[in-house]
């Protein structure tokens, strides 16, 4: 995984598109410098594995990353692009 903005591969989707129970590998983060900084600090780095714990299709969602549970607003979750991990 390189630090350059990865080309949008067809298989990367916004984190908000994953259903509860699905697992994704983070590909890229978009959004402003501060938002990215907060996401990175909480462990949402490219290559990290994210398990969606709750996603009702609207409102905020909960994911597990590096053993911790992180709540994200929908707008924030849309800025995290992930690759779905095949089950």
């Amino acid at each position: 995984m390189s630090g350059k903005p990865a080309p949008l591969s067809p298989d990367s989707v916004p984190l908000s598109a994953l259903r509860a129970g699905e697992v994704g590998i983070i590909a890229t983060l978009s959004g402003g410098h501060n938002l990215r900084s907060r996401m990175l600090t909480l462990g949402l780095t490219p290559g990290a594995e994210v398990t969606v714990l709750q996603n009702y299709g609207r409102g905020p969602m909960i994911v597990r990353v590096r053993d911790a549970r992180v709540a994200l607003g929908r707008g924030e979750a849309e800025k995290v692009l992930v690759r779905r991990r095949a089950e």
Binding site: S2, K4, R66, V70
Partner: protein, 677 residues
């Protein structure tokens, strides 16, 4: 091992030898406060960091005959200049050079909590890792070998459980030996990802010789790459223009380096924990995830939240209100006693002491029972980990008024009393969101305002009184929502801070932590807000008795008569205007003031008022009173929390305009409708 192994006595100051300075660092929710309270007990001082509204806790303790000064750094996830807390923590370590930094990490979320350690190690102070919550990790099925972690990190690692007092003596011994330089200290530092190593070296070379004291050069280079605003500004000022432009060009070409730096730290963490941690088998579901299926559910989560808040209200009314009543009676008796003792003294003296000082101090004290209950409820919900869930389920609704979930609980507390609501906004990290919440909090009708409504409404509206009261509450909340939308647009141009937060593991409450938090917050309220209330009540007392000594021709009455033309626009005569003004000391004062002006006890007053004023006037009065400037205690709290007279005056002015406008609309429209009928 019991908690008592920790000595709790105050050390006599050691002559000629300064106490060992220990800084306590850690991310939020890792049990840092529990450890701080365990070590210092009541020997702690809570204030603010200079020039900031961030709480600063410092305490002292002795161990093996040596005295220690313990500074609790703000809980932060990292040390990048994202928030004042992060700046405070790193500046303290860089400038004060503590003898030892104790980094508290949560064993149950080890990777994430080691991120702060990755940021602490490059700073010039030795770090000891306190591996806290070992019991919680075990519960979650996570096995950690501290010796393996210690060997990997190259710094001492002490396994412990602050909640149960386990491992604390071992931690103190390690701190002692580290401070004496008896322990090997060979930290293995995190490296930036290999693809950015070259650019980091270039930067270091470019800034060499220009880095101001006390900042380490390598650290500054790394922070520049991370895009740290403070460090960037500092170096722009420190470097000659040409050199800065070179550096700036390098930084612009690597604006994605932020990701490389953070990833580098997490890769380092991965190497550190690989051998030391055994994870649970896949598919094992912990207690937290089972509870969260309910607590964060879009429907059940709201039901649970509503029940918990209902319980808090119930507690306030069944426990807090009677206590408040007793205190009021006790203070009344004390005032009478003082009056009795001072029968020979001049009337102004006994009046000043009994009505001004004791009355004012009494107003502060009678707030306490409700405050204590709310502080305890807040501390409890925070400590067990529920607060984050409440913020999560309310996020959607709070979006509508330009805020997010974290503002909900402080606003809710406003129903009890606006003061804890404003103090409670400390949970909101973003300054903008916090300010907006503080500005909106006084629009939540508190119990004192409800008391006035409950007293007056039945006399004027009979069976419709509950409906009117309910309408007034809805009006307040409607105005709150509208003000939120407008302020957010006008003042903050619709910018909304990002909603991203950790949901900590649930755990059993630590009563010591809760108790100390309640004690500290109450004390701080009495000290700071208390002085404002006392001063204001003495002033109001003076205005209401001077110059004649009788309430009939006092300055307050003259002021009321002077303001009557303005009051008339809302249908208020001078007596209602005076009552409104006096509500500034405490909302329920307006009833007492009307009692004085009508020369009636509370029993007869309602009837006399109903005979004097029309229901429309009463309605207009209630609307103004409900939306009016908050009481002196709340204004004191706003001043304390915004640390700005400008915002405090803005808040007062805003509410003044809103309440007077609303009163005018109600009265004028009502009169016009009545004429038409």
């Amino acid at each position: 091992m019991s908690v008592r192994t920790v000595p709790e006595t105050v050390a006599p100051p050691v002559v000629g030898e300064r106490p060992i300075l220990v800084a306590l660092a850690g991310q939020p929710n890792v049990g840092k406060s529990t450890l701080f309270n365990l070590l210092t007990g009541l020997h702690q001082h809570v204030g603010n960091w200079p020039g900031k509204t961030v709480e600063r806790k410092e305490g002292h303790f002795t161990f093996n005959g040596a005295s220690y000064r313990l500074v609790d750094l703000p809980g932060t996830y990292s040390l990048t200049a994202n928030s004042p807390e992060e700046l405070i923590a790193r500046e303290f370590i860089l400038r004060e050079r503590p003898d030892v930094v104790v980094a508290v990490v949560d064993a149950a979320t080890l990777e994430r909590s080691l991120y702060l350690v990755a940021e602490l190690l490059p700073l010039p102070a030795p770090v000891i890792v306190a591996l806290n919550m070992m019991d919680v990790a075990r519960q979650e099925g996570i096995q950690i070998e501290p010796e393996v972690l210690q060997a990997a990190l190259g710094v001492p690692v002490v396994p412990m459980s602050a909640t149960h007092g386990v491992g604390v003596p071992e931690l103190l011994e390690t701190v002692e030996r580290m401070a004496r330089g008896e322990l090997p200290y060979t930290p293995r530092l995190p490296q930036i990802r290999p693809d950015h190593r070259e650019v980091l070296e270039t930067l270091e070379e470019r800034i060499a010789g220009y880095v101001p004291e006390p900042y380490p050069r390598e650290w500054v280079a790394l922070k520049l790459l991370e895009g740290d605003t403070e460090v960037t500004q500092m170096m722009r000022a420190a470097l000659p223009l040409e050199r800065w432009e070179e550096v700036h060009a390098v930084l612009r070409a690597h604006d994605d380096a932020q990701v490389a730096v953070a990833s580098g730290r997490y890769e380092w963490i991965g190497r550190m924990v690989r051998a030391a941690v055994t994870r649970p088998r896949l598919g094992q579901i912990g207690l937290t995830e089972r509870l969260d299926r309910w607590a964060t559910h879009p429907v059940w989560g709201l039901v649970i939240l509503a029940s918990i808040l209902g319980l808090v209200f119930w507690l306030t009314y069944t426990v807090g209100a009677p206590l408040q009543g007793w205190l009021e009676k006790g203070i009344g008796a004390l005032a009478e006693g003082v009056r009795g003792l001072l029968t020979g003294a001049p009337a102004w003296l006994s009046g000043l002491l009994a009505d001004g000082v004791i009355g004012g101090a009494g107003a502060v004290l009678t707030f306490l029972p409700i405050l204590v209950i709310f502080f305890a409820a807040m501390a409890f919900l925070e400590d067990v980990g529920y607060m984050a869930r409440a913020a999560y389920v309310m996020d959607g609704l709070m979006h509508l008024i330009g805020l997010h979930g974290k503002s909900f609980l402080p606003l809710f507390l406003g129903f009890g009393c606006n003061v804890p609501a404003i103090l409670g906004t400390r949970v909101i990290e973003s300054r903008r969101a916090r300010l907006l919440t503080i500005l909106l909090a006084p629009l939540v009708p508190c119990t004192a305002r409800m008391a006035v409504i409950v007293f007056l409404a039945p006399a004027f509206f009979g069976p419709a009184a509950p409906l009117v009261s309910w309408g007034l509450v809805l009006l307040s909340l409607g105005v709150l929502a509208l003000t939120g939308i407008v302020l957010n647009r006008v003042l903050f141009r619709g910018r909304r801070s990002a909603f991203i937060m950790e949901l900590p593991l649930y755990h059993l409450p630590n009563w010591r932590t809760i108790g100390l938090s309640v004690w500290q917050r109450s004390l701080s309220f009495v000290r700071k807000a208390g002085t404002v209330i006392l001063a204001v009540s003495v002033v109001i007392w003076a205005l209401s008795t001077l110059p004649g000594g009788s309430a009939g021709e006092s300055y307050l009455v003259r002021l009321g008569k002077f303001l009557e033309p303005a009051g008339r626009l809302m249908g208020l005569d001078w007596r209602l205007t005076v009552a409104l003004l006096s509500s500034f000391v405490a909302k329920e004062n307006s009833i007492a003031t009307l009692g004085v002006l009508f020369r009636a006890g509370e029993e007869g007053l309602a009837g006399m008022l109903a005979a004097t004023y029309s229901p429309l006037v009463a309605l207009a009065y209630l609307v103004v009173q409900t939306l009016f400037i908050p009481c002196a205690a709340t204004v004191g709290a706003i001043r304390q929390e915004t640390a700005s007279w400008r915002w405090t005056l803005f808040s007062v002015g805003l509410l003044l305009v809103i309440s007077l406008l609303a009163g005018m609309v109600v009265f004028q429209v009502g009169a016009w409708v009545a004429k038409g009928v």
